[in-house]
C-alpha cells in the first residue's frame, strides 16, 4: 500500500527534517504515528498526501513509484487518499455540506448521486443541523468533524489524519475513531498522527510508528485480519 525506503526530506537548503525513513503500511491496516511536536509528523504526512517531494529515497504508493509519476498522474492518486489536515483547511465561503461534497465534486460525479450520502454522513458526525453553516461560524470541534467527513466521503483507499481528535471531547473522539474503524472494515488503510497515547493503547490491533528528530521507528506492527474483521476498540 505505502512503502518508504531511505527517504530524506529537507525544505529548501535547510537541514533534513526526515532522515532515512523506511516503513510500510499494509493494506487494510490501522496505524498510529506518534512523536513530539516538530519531530517530522506533518512532513511525513505531506509526503504521503503528495504535497511535497522527498529530497532522496523512494516512495511507493499503491504500487507506483511516486518519483516516476508526472503531474497528470497525481489527481488520480490523490483521489485515493483522504486527508484530515491538522488546521482543517476548509473552504470558508462554502457551507459544511459543500465542503464535504468537494472530493466528489472534483471527481465530476453528478451531485444527485451523492447528496443523500453526504447528508447522512454529516448527520452521523452530529452536524445534521449545521449543514448550511460556513466554517467561520463553526466551533473547532465542528470544523474538525467537517474535515473528517470530507476526508472519508469518497471512501479513499488510504486515510491520513493529522490529530483528528485534538479538538473534540473524548466521547466524540471515540465516535470518530469508530468511524475510522468502519472505514477500515471496508478496506481503507488508515494512518492517524496523534499525541493522544490513550488512543494508541486503546487500539491494540493498530500499528504504531514513532518519529523523533526526523528518524522513524516501528513500535508495533499492525495486525490485519484476513477476513476483514474490524479492529476492536477497548
Amino acid at each position: 500500500m505505502v512503502r518508504f525506503e531511505n527517504v530524506g526530506m529537507r525544505y529548501g537548503m535547510g537541514p533534513e527534517v526526515l532522515r532515512d525513513v523506511s516503513f510500510q503500511l499494509s493494506p487494510g491496516s490501522i496505524n498510529f504515528l506518534t512523536g513530539p511536536s516538530g519531530a517530522g509528523k506533518t512532513s511525513l504526512l505531506k509526503l504521503m498526501y503528495l504535497a511535497s517531494r522527498p529530497s532522496r529515497g523512494q516512495i511507493s504508493m499503491f504500487g507506483s513509484d511516486v518519483s516516476q509519476l508526472g503531474r497528470e498522474d497525481m489527481p488520480d492518486l490523490r483521489r485515493r487518499i483522504g486527508v484530515v489536515f491538522q488546521e482543517f483547511r476548509l473552504l470558508d465561503h462554502l457551507s459544511a455540506f459543500e465542503n464535504v461534497c468537494l472530493p466528489l465534486r472534483v471527481a465530476t460525479s453528478p451531485s444527485a448521486n451523492y447528496e443523500a450520502d453526504v447528508r447522512e454522513l454529516l448527520t452521523w458526525v452530529g452536524l445534521g443541523e449545521r449543514m448550511n453553516a460556513t466554517p467561520p461560524t463553526l466551533s473547532g470541534g465542528e470544523k474538525q468533524r467537517v474535515a473528517i467527513a470530507r476526508a472519508v466521503v469518497a471512501q479513499p483507499n488510504l486515510l491520513l489524519a493529522d490529530e483528528p481528535t485534538g479538538n473534540v471531547d473524548p466521547e466524540m473522539g471515540i465516535k470518530l475513531l469508530r468511524l475510522f474503524t468502519e472505514l477500515n472494515r471496508m478496506g481503507t488503510t488508515i494512518l492517524i498522527a496523534t499525541h493522544d497515547m490513550s488512543l494508541v493503547e486503546r487500539t491494540l490491533e493498530a500499528g504504531h510508528l514513532h518519529i523523533d528528530g526526523g528518524n522513524i521507528s516501528t513500535m508495533r506492527e499492525a495486525r490485519v485480519d484476513p477476513r476483514g474483521r474490524p479492529v476492536e476498540l477497548k
Binding site: R71, R79, L94, E98, C101, R105, V106, T108, N132
Partner: protein
Amino acid sequence: MIARLQLFLAQRLPLASSVIPAAGGARWPLHLVIAVMCFLASVALGITMTVSRVADDWSADLAGVITVQIKPRPDLEIESQISEAMRILSETPGILSATEIPQQSAAELLEPYLGSVELPDDIAVPHLIDVRLDADREPDLSALALRLQDAVPGAELDDHFRWKSRLAAFAGSLEGLALAALGLIIAATIGIVVFATRAAMEANREIIEVLHLIGARDVFIAGEFQAQFLWVGLRAGVLGAVGAAALLFALTLFSSGRGEFFLPGLGVTWTTYPALILVPLLSATVAFLTARTTALSVLSRTL
C-alpha cells in the same frame, strides 16, 4: 425576503456556489476597466461601420454618373459648344441620358465656397452636363473624353475616378485605424485579464492547494477561474456596448440634418446597433480564453 430566497436556494441548490470565491468589491475596478475597453471597441466598431457605409453610399451615388464640364471660351458661343457636346453624347452607345445643369444650379454648387452673392458676369462659370450611363454596357470613357476634347474646345469629362479613389483610400485608412484600435483594445484586455487572473490565483492559493490535494485536475481549477472571467467579460462588455450605443445614438441625433451640400449625413444607422452585440460576446470570449490559458499556465508550475 431575499434572505429567505437565499436560504431556499441554498437548500435546493447546495452545489450552486463556486469553489473559488468571487472577489466581490475588488472585482468592480476590473469590471470598470474592461467596460471602458468595450466602450472604446464599440465606438471604434460603430465608426468603422459608419465610415464604410458612408463611403459605399458616396461611391454608389457616383456610380454610373459622369459629368461633362465645358469652360466658356471668348472665341466660341457657349450654346454651340453645349449642343455639339450633347450631340456627341446622344450618339454614344451606353449613355442613358445627358442633361444640362442650369447655371442657377451650378451657382448653388459654388455657394458653400463663394457665399450667396451675385456672381459677376465676367466670371466664367463652367457649364455642366450630367450624364447617366447604362450599367450593363458602359461606354469607353477614355475614347469619349478624347472625342469631346477634339470636337468641343474647353470640354472635359470627369468620371469622378480621382474623387472615388481618394474617398476609398480615406475610408480604408479610417477602417484600418479603427481595426488597429480594436487590436490594441483586445491586446490591452488580454493583459488586464492575465494580470487579474494571476492576482485572483495568488489570493486563492490556499484554496487551490486544497483542491489539488483532494484530487482536482488543473482543468477543474482553471474552469472555476474561466467561468468567473467569462461573466466579468460579458457583464463589462454589455456595459461598454450599451454606453457606446448611447453615445452613437446621441451623435446621430446631433448630426441629423447636417448632411449638407453633397456630403451625406454621418449618423449611425439602425443596422449598426445589432453589430454592437458582438462586443460583449468578443469580450467574454477573450476573458474566458485568457483566464483559462493563464490559469493552466500558472497551475502547471505547481506540484
